[in-house]
Structures are given as structure tokens and as C-alpha cells.
Amino acid sequence: MAERERRLAAPPSGGEFQARTRVMTSDDVSRAVRRMAHEILERNHGADDLMIVGLQTGGVDLSRRLADDIREIEGSEVPVGSLDATMHRDDFGLRPVMPEAATEIPGDPSGKVIVLVDDVLYTGRTVRAALDAIHSYGRPQAIQLAVMVDRGHRELPIRPDFVGKNLPTRRDELVDVHDAGVDLGDVS
């Protein structure tokens, strides 16, 4: 999401992203991932039937880290996949929409508990598209949502199950999740 926001804001349609405040350091992010891994295990009474799916492109790295932590905590291997929901978006004709990267769903999601992972939750439209996309692979038992940053401004009735940080923002601000942490900034 942050990636997409940044690209959208790129020329010719916008300007350049400038970070203003570091809201989470990389250590903060690691701790949040650790806590979310615990929460996911607590909510689902273990790692059985879990499948973690990162949304392209921002959620993919995070989904692997969550799976790594779950392995360390619980000692069991959770299948990890990635999902590009571009083809299910609702903004065709409003802006250019091109697929971003590969989708790889590790096995049949039917009967599994899918944890969708993204870096930033904003309007909720990407998640809506992802919910649609997942269903063309099978019928999961349940779908849960984990995000590193919930920045508000939802346009759909969607809420996250696991949150790294709740971050109040203005609409014209941008949130960037990267290796060194999380930045809040503007487009100039």
C-alpha cells in the first residue's frame, strides 16, 4: 500500500515523497511483528490450518517475517504466499492499473485460516480486492487481516485483526514502511 501510494504520487501525476517523522524504528517494527505473531497464535489456538498471504508488494516482506516469528515461537512451519489483487480492484478507468508482481498461493486455501498481511491499511480498497481474489482460489474457513500501520480514513467497512501501530494521519500525508522503520511524510 505504501509502495503503491508512493508510486501514484510519483511524477507525472505527483511529486516526490519526503519523510518528515520516523514513527517506528526498525526495532519497533521487529517488536510489533513479534507481538502480532503471538496474537495470531493466541487467536487461532496455535498454527494449525494457518496460511499467511502477503499483499503485493508492501505486505510480502512482512508476511515472511511473521511466518519466521511464528516458527520460532511455535516450532511449526506455516505456508506463506503472496497475492497481487490488481485484477480485482475497483478503480479501473480512474487511473492506470497494472499488475505489480507474482501471485503465489501455497496450496488450496479451502478450509484454512488465511492471514492477509499488508504494510499500511488506508481506504481498505486493496483489502476488499484481496478478499475477492482469495476466493477465486478456494473457500477459506476464515480470513484475518494483519497490518503494520493502520492510518485510518477507511472508505469500506473493513477493520484489521492485528495492528502494529495505529497512526492518525491526514489524507494528504503518506506512510512509508521500509527496512529501517516507518516514516510519515508528505508529497512535495
Binding site: P12, R95, V97
Partner: protein, 316 residues
């Protein structure tokens, strides 16, 4: 990324355009592998099929592609339409346009017909074969199939063998493969070559045995049996011996060389029956890939909204 309005000829695409389409095809190959191979990307778009020439696989392939993208289609069959009452191509196109279509996929016996159609409609036009001229989606699916097996095509050698003269596939692929860096050789008797190949990025030989051991792709064209009465070759048996991919010749190919054919095949004419079933014959895979390629083309023209970028760039 550039915005295409129509897909008429491989000559209109540059290497970047082709690569973009092949990347996009990769995404749609994944969609086609899903339990429910359908995405809502072209919901609300209408595509008209304007097939003035017979076609089974191309038409089915396009229709399947459109369905997997959730587009609506307007069927038009020449035999049961006003064309039989003498309606001109232009009137037919304008009538269909007036009903509100977003895309027209056309096959016509006249070379250049798709280009003319673009002047009569606001819809995106896709050429599904015009006369002996072009068949760009066939070339794209061939390029996609070839790159999947061979990777980068730079410096690869492809021989296009058989009835070059009457083949839009040969013309499209000569341009397509050359643009992707491959070395293209036409192999045919003089009677099956166009009168002039000046300016074409190809070599020509009349001897298949001369090149068979060096090539990475042996691309066989359908011998158009209906032209046999024009006696372009003495007999089909002789053609098979001289220019067909016999079992003996197929065994002299490099180990990883691909055998390709746009279909429908005449087993025993351009290709020996047994050869078509060898593991390095990727003929059915070409058909499968055709759907994903056509999804990519329809999506790029009708759904991607890349033209929005250009509009914005124009303003800036």
C-alpha cells in the same frame, strides 16, 4: 509504459512494448491456473467479434480470454448477418459502434482491413488476422511460448518453414522474433516465397537440411492444402520429403530445440505425425498460452487505463 490504442501489426510494437505484453501475459497465466480462472478486470466492457474468415482456435481463444476478464461479447456471424444482404464493412462497423462497443476483434481476408476499421470507430481494434498480412496475437503467443522455454531470445535462431507466401503468421513472426533479437530464416521453395523480401529482417534458404542442426526453433507453417490446385509444389509427398519435419530431420535438431506450429496441423505434410507428439513439440502449449496472451492484449487495450497516463503527460 506506452499506451496502445489498437493492435494491428507486430511492426507497430517496439521491443519494450512486446516485453511489457509478455510480462503481463505472465500475470494472466497465473489467473488461468486458479480454481476460478476469472477476474473482474473488464467488467462492463463489450467486445464485438467481427470474423469475416473461418476461425476455430483464434476465435475460441479470444472468446475464452474475454470471458476470463469478465467482458461482455457481441457475437457476429457473417453468414447470418446483414453482410449477406450486401452491407459494407464500413456500415457494419459503424452499426456495431453505434451500439456501444469498447473493442472490436476482427479477422478479414483483406490485408489492412483492421487499419481501415480504426478510422470508422472509437473502439479499440485488435487484428485477429488480415489476409496474408499480419496476425499479431499469434506472434505474441509464439514469443511467449519460446521465451518460457529458451529465456532471452537474443542470438537465438528460428527457422520458419513452409508456405511463407500465403502466411500472415510468418510475416508477423519474422518481425516479432527479429525485434526480440532472434535471427530469423525463411525456409521454402521459390514458389512459396513472396516475390520480394527486400527490407525484411530475414535470411532465406531453400534447403532445410542446411540449417536444421543450428536452429533453436523449428517453426512449421500450415501447408494450405486448398492452394494445392494452384500447383505451388509438385506433390505433397515431395514437399514433405524436401521441407517437412520428418522424424529423421527432427532427430538432427539440437536437444533443447523447440518444434512449433500455429495449427491446424497437416500431419504427414509439413510435420511427420510422430514428430508432433515429441516432448520438445510445444504445439498444444502454444494454444494454452494463446488465451493468456489474448487476455493481456485485451486488458492492455481496454482495461489498464494506461492512456490516462499519456493524457496526463500531455497536459504536463
Amino acid at each position: 509504459m506506452s499506451a496502445m490504442r489498437h493492435l494491428l501489426s507486430m511492426a507497430d510494437l517496439d521491443r519494450d512494448d512486446i516485453e511489457q505484453l509478455l510480462n503481463l501475459t505472465e500475470s494472466f497465466t497465473e489467473v488461468s491456473a486458479r480454481q476460478i480462472p476469472k477476474v473482474p478486470a473488464l467488467r462492463g466492457k463489450t467486445i464485438a467479434w467481427l470474423f469475416y474468415e473461418d476461425s476455430t482456435r483464434t476465435r475460441l481463444s479470444f472468446e475464452t480470454a474475454a470471458k476470463r476478464l469478465s467482458a461482455d461479447s457481441m457475437n457476429f456471424s457473417v453468414s447470418s448477418s446483414s453482410v449477406n444482404k450486401g452491407e459494407s464493412l464500413r456500415d457494419t462497423v459503424e452499426t456495431i459502434s453505434a451500439m456501444g462497443v469498447d473493442g472490436i476483434v476482427v479477422r478479414h481476408s483483406g490485408a489492412g482491413a483492421p487499419h481501415r476499421i480504426t478510422q470508422w470507430t472509437d473502439a479499440c481494434v485488435v487484428n485477429a488476422g488480415d489476409g496474408w498480412h499480419q496476425h499479431p496475437t499469434q506472434s505474441l503467443l509464439d514469443l511467449y511460448t519460446a521465451t518460457r522455454h529458451l529465456g532471452d531470445l537474443d542470438g537465438r535462431r528460428i527457422a520458419i518453414v513452409g508456405d511463407i507466401k500465403h502466411s500472415r503468421v510468418a510475416r508477423s513472426n519474422a518481425i516479432g522474433f527479429a525485434k526480440m533479437g532472434a535471427e530469423v530464416t525463411f525456409v521454402a521453395p521459390q514458389t512459396l516465397l513472396p516475390p520480394s523480401l527486400e527490407g525484411w529482417p530475414v535470411k532465406v534458404t531453400h534447403d532445410l537440411d542446411e540449417v536444421i542442426e543450428d536452429i533453436d526453433i523449428c517453426y512449421l507453417l500450415r501447408m494450405q492444402l486448398e492452394r494445392q490446385e494452384q500447383s505451388v509444389v509438385p506433390t505433397l509427398r515431395e514437399f514433405h520429403e524436401e521441407y517437412g519435419l520428418t522424424a529423421a530431420r527432427a532427430s538432427r535438431l539440437k536437444d533443447d530445440a523447440l518444434i512449433m506450429h500455429p495449427g491446424p496441423m497437416n500431419r504427414g505434410v509439413e510435420i511427420a505425425g510422430e514428430v508432433a507428439d515429441r516432448p520438445n513439440a510445444v504445439i498444444t502449449e502454444q494454444v494454452t498460452n494463446g488465451i493468456a496472451v489474448r487476455m493481456a492484449v485485451l486488458y492492455l487495450l481496454l482495461g489498464s487505463g494506461l492512456d490516462l497516463v499519456d493524457e496526463r503527460a500531455d497536459v504536463a
